[in-house]
């Protein structure tokens, strides 16, 4: 198939390749502050992608993903305390394991709930976990938890880059190319009909939820090590989920590349407001306004503005599909 690339396909492949090269050499050319911003974009793109697996592909709007971000952050944070001293990389799989375990355990009963009930349940679950982080001793309560500092921006940039790229390629392959993706989309669009096709919908939903939770937790772990200090609000607060939801809606719900687009735009807005106005509170009403406006005027997200985006795979997605 590769031998018969059409011209736009070739162009987009080249653009993609060029983009990767730019991302790979970028740290050498920009200042540390900008590098942190780009690292943030990569992290949020990955998080949005994780949320999109459940929200966009399975059709279950989760308002509780901050719980899994917090699980990753706390697993890494607690295990890296001086008395345990487990190396950072070893904490990552453990964080994923805990998050996947929790997601699988609560996924079964929670995903029996449809629509708004599911949203409320996940929200209550996340708030419950945050309250637990506040009252428990092991998490340091509201005082928070300090991690051993590792001040190497390049390390975090490349870690985020590799993980985010892996997440995108992995989910693109899984959701657009394998049976798993078809199972998910089928149950999203018509759950009884999906069952009538022999799809074990409960299992598929829980798998998607656990996958999404694992990815979210992975980013939570890296984030904790990156910022070196965590407290219940900063890693389990509702703002984490808020941003994931807005980024996906902004980019395009249920599309492969929409979340990345939404995350880039929103995180740049976030950082711009933060640096120009020095006042983060104004960011929240803007965030809310963006959600409301998108729902009213652009329900298919920014990606629907791109040529070829109407089918919900976006230009890049469509072209990648043809390879």
């Amino acid at each position: 198939m590769v031998s018969k690339l059409s011209r736009p396909q070739l162009a987009s492949l080249l653009a993609l390749f060029a983009g990767m090269v730019v991302l790979a050499v970028l740290p050498a050319y920009i200042d540390p502050y900008s590098l942190r911003i780009v690292t943030g974009v990569l992290m949020w793109a990955g998080l949005a992608c994780a949320w999109n697996i459940v929200g966009g592909y399975a059709g279950y709007i989760s308002f509780g993903h901050s719980a899994f971000f917090g699980i990753g952050a706390y697993v890494t944070g607690i295990l890296m305390q001086r008395d345990l001293g487990i190396p950072f990389l070893a904490t990552l799989p453990l964080g994923i394991l805990v998050a996947v375990g929790v997601a699988a355990a609560i996924g079964g009963p929670t995903m029996r709930l449809r629509g708004a009930y599911f949203a409320i349940a996940t929200w209550a679950f996340a708030e419950m976990l945050m309250q637990m982080a506040i009252v428990l001793d092991i998490t340091g309560g509201t005082a928070g938890l300090s991690l051993p500092a590792y001040l190497n921006e390049f390390f975090f940039y490349y870690t985020m880059l590799i993980v985010a790229l892996g997440v995108y390629l992995g989910t693109w392959y899984l959701l657009e190319r394998t049976r798993f993706g078809y199972r998910l989309k089928a149950l999203r669009d018509h759950e009884p009909a999906a069952e009538a096709m022999g799809i074990h919908t409960t299992r598929v939903k829980v798998q998607a939820f656990a996958l999404s939770a694992g990815i979210t937790s992975l980013f939570g772990s890296i984030y904790a090590y990156w910022v070196t200090f965590i407290d219940p609000r900063s890693v389990m607060g509702p703002e984490i989920t808020d941003q994931m939801v807005v980024m996906v809606l902004l980019g395009g719900l249920g599309t492969v590349w929409g979340p990345a687009l939404g995350a880039t735009v929103l995180w740049l807005i976030n950082r711009y407001i933060w640096s120009e106005l020095g006042d983060t509170a104004i960011y929240l009403p803007i965030l809310g306004l963006i959600i409301a406006l998108i729902v009213l005027f652009l329900p298919n997200g920014l990606i629907s503005l791109l040529p070829g985006g109407r089918r919900g795979h976006g230009l890049l997605g469509r072209l990648l599909r043809k390879l």
């Binding site: 308002f63 506040i134 808020d242 509170a281 009403p285 809310g288 959600i291």
Partner: protein, 290 residues
């Protein structure tokens, strides 16, 4: 024993206000089929409105509550058609889009309050603050008693409106079946907008009452959204009658946990109970129609 009595009394008094907070929410769900995430936002804004009325104009919250009702009912009537539009749109999942929309409004309210008024908690004083009645072993703060009475008055007003007027008949018809009510000549869009307005008015008024008892800051909205969900889920979404029991249950749970376990655990317990209730009985424990 006295402690228990006091805790029970406090629970009932707060429960009354929680009922008032949730009836409108339930009505909105019944008529518009929208879960309004912003419910706590209306409570918070109502509290701030009372605060500024008292601070700038010196109006007692038990008087400003009526103006707050009218003001927020107006805002709600203006916002209602937008929500109706999203809910009845041809989007792939209008229910989830409506949820996301109110979620956005909620973030806007909370963020706006943070931006304008910062994190500080503000208390709203009334002439009744501090006064109390002693009945045997228990003390009844006059403020809480009056707030409870005011909440009951508002709730009662809503019931009269729903079950004794022509408008109420139209509302109930829409709640039963939107399409059929439309065929009978009910202007569904307008009824929906009015219902949303009544809901925002009542909820903001409940916010005034809660602000006089506790205080108000931008973060209280999250807490009251949770409370409304809790009561609504316990009662069964859309059920107005079940709210009477469910609101009292929440008031008592919160008061008892606060008294015997510690206030820092009360939110944890409430969230955990809500989650469990959802898992055990997703359709609500006291399910009954509007």
């Amino acid at each position: 024993m006295d402690v228990l009595l006091q805790a029970l009394l406090n629970g009932i008094l707060i429960g009354g206000i929680l009922i008032c907070l949730t009836v409108g929410f339930q009505l909105t769900f019944g008529v518009l089929h929208v879960i309004d995430f912003a419910v706590g936002g209306w409570v918070m804004l109502g509290g701030y409105a009372a605060y500024w009325a008292s601070r700038l104009l010196g109006v007692d919250p038990f008087i400003s509550v009526f103006f707050v009702f009218v003001l927020f009912a107006g805002v709600g009537c203006a916002l209602g058609p937008l929500i109706y539009h999203v809910r009845t749109s041809r989007y792939a999942r209008p229910d989830l889009m409506a949820l996301a929309f109110t979620f956005g409004i909620f973030i806007m309210m909370r963020g706006g309050a943070l931006w304008l008024w910062s994190f500080d908690s503000r208390s709203v004083d009334s002439v009744l603050s501090g006064a109390s009645l002693s009945i045997g072993p228990v003390t009844v703060p006059l403020l809480r008693l009056s707030a409870f009475g005011m909440a009951l008055l508002l709730g009662l007003g809503l019931f009269v409106l729903l079950y004794r007027t022509r408008f109420g008949m139209a509302v109930r018809a829409v709640a039963q079946n939107r399409d059929h009510a439309g065929l009978m000549g009910v202007d569904v869009k307008r009824v929906s907008a009015y219902v949303y307005g009544i809901y925002t008015g009542i909820t903001a008024s409940a916010g005034v009452l809660l602000a006089t008892i506790y205080s108000v800051n931008p973060e209280v909205g999250v807490r009251y959204t949770l409370f409304a969900f809790f009561v609504a889920v316990l009662a069964g979404l859309g059920s107005v009658g079940g709210v009477l029991v469910a609101g009292l249950v929440l008031g008592l749970v919160e008061s008892l946990v606060g008294t015997y376990v510690g206030t820092r655990y009360s939110l944890l317990v409430v969230f955990a109970t809500l989650y469990l209730v959802l898992l055990i009985s997703p359709k609500g424990i006291l399910q009954r129609g509007i």
